[in-house]
């Protein structure tokens, strides 16, 4: 199997897993009843994973396609605009901090920043659509709640990546360059600088 095809397959698997996670999460009741609208954002694990171990371009593809495809499995079309804005904001923030920090950041930091900007993006989109500035009163609680949710997502991604790295399960999907990148990025983003 050519490496090009296998990378395409890998991305397809990641996107479908993200989609299913997104769907399952929408069935669960809210974890934080005191903070309406706050959810874990489990599907962000896959965007974060793709950005950190495969590449920025692929990360954008996963983030956008996940939102677009979610409309085919029951998410109403009106939600697409919010989730898309949120996902793209989170993607931009996470890629920026990843490229600017030069290894000075771990999965936790990237994930927390991502979930914070996901919320900001959604609020901005909602404010524009509702044509109302009053929605910003939701913002403080959403931003502070991005700390626990971002921590959780960061740890999930870290342990998933660790397991994948240890089992070498991704080797058959990535070419030599891709494997190298996976290894460097994984080592760079570990929770502690020294292994």
């Amino acid at each position: 199997m050519s490496k090009r095809v296998s990378k395409l397959t890998l991305l397809a698997i990641i996107i479908s897993m993200a989609l299913v996670t997104h769907y399952i999460e929408s069935l669960l009741p809210s974890l934080f009843p005191f903070a309406p609208g706050v959810k874990l954002g489990l599907a962000n694990i896959f965007t974060l994973f793709t950005i950190t171990v495969i590449g920025y371009k692929e990360g954008l593809v996963v983030a956008v396609l996940r939102c677009v495809l979610a409309t085919f499995i029951g998410t109403p079309l009106s939600t697409l605009l919010f989730s898309l804005t949120g996902a793209i904001c989170a993607y931009i923030a996470m890629s920026l901090v990843l490229s600017l920090s030069r290894g000075g950041v771990s999965y936790i930091g990237i994930s927390v920043l991502g979930s914070c900007f996901h919320n900001i993006g959604q609020i901005v989109a909602a404010g524009l659509i509702l044509n109302s500035v009053y929605i910003v009163s939701y913002l403080p609680v959403l931003i502070i709640m991005s700390l626990p949710t971002g921590l959780f997502i960061g740890y999930c991604t870290y342990y998933a990546t660790k397991a994948l790295y240890a089992s070498r399960a991704l080797c058959q999907f990535l070419d030599a360059g891709g494997q190298n990148k996976f290894e460097t990025n994984y080592n760079k983003l570990k929770l502690r600088s020294k292994a």
């Binding site: 005191f34 901090v97 771990s106 909602a126 659509i129 044509n131 931003i143």
Partner: protein
């Protein structure tokens, strides 16, 4: 944890405190008028001091509806057929500038102060 992680944590803490102070600065005063907006247009204004309930939308089951209740100077949405139920789960509000949003129905319930113009319906 690394250096940038701490920078990000501090950034988020500062950002949320700044947002909180900003929101507090215009929600500190008790309101008097409940303004109900649908699609960005005001559909109804009610007095916050009279206990009442109001249903936005039609009740013929296929239509979107939100039932808003004013009681003891607080407003909340007690029932809605929206899919996320965020409006129903939002705690009751009473301060100027606070709002309850129902995104799927494009509904904003917000509170205005005494100096706002009150229409004939609510007085």
């Amino acid at each position: 944890m690394k250096k940038w992680d701490y920078i990000i944590f501090v950034f988020i803490a500062v950002l949320s405190v700044a947002c909180f102070v900003f929101v507090q600065s215009y929600t500190s005063e008790r309101g008097s008028v409940v303004v109900i907006e649908l699609n960005g247009q005001i559909v109804k204004q009610l007095s916050l001091n009279e206990d009442t309930s109001y249903v936005v939308g039609l009740m013929n089951e296929t239509e979107d509806y939100n039932e808003i209740v004013i009681k003891d100077g607080y407003v909340r949405v007690i029932e809605s057929n929206c899919r996320d139920q965020i409006c129903v789960n939002t705690p009751a509000i009473s301060q100027v500038g606070q709002s309850i949003i129902c995104l799927p129905h494009r509904l904003v319930v917000r509170i205005d102060g005494y100096n706002q113009k009150i229409d004939g319906v609510s007085r």
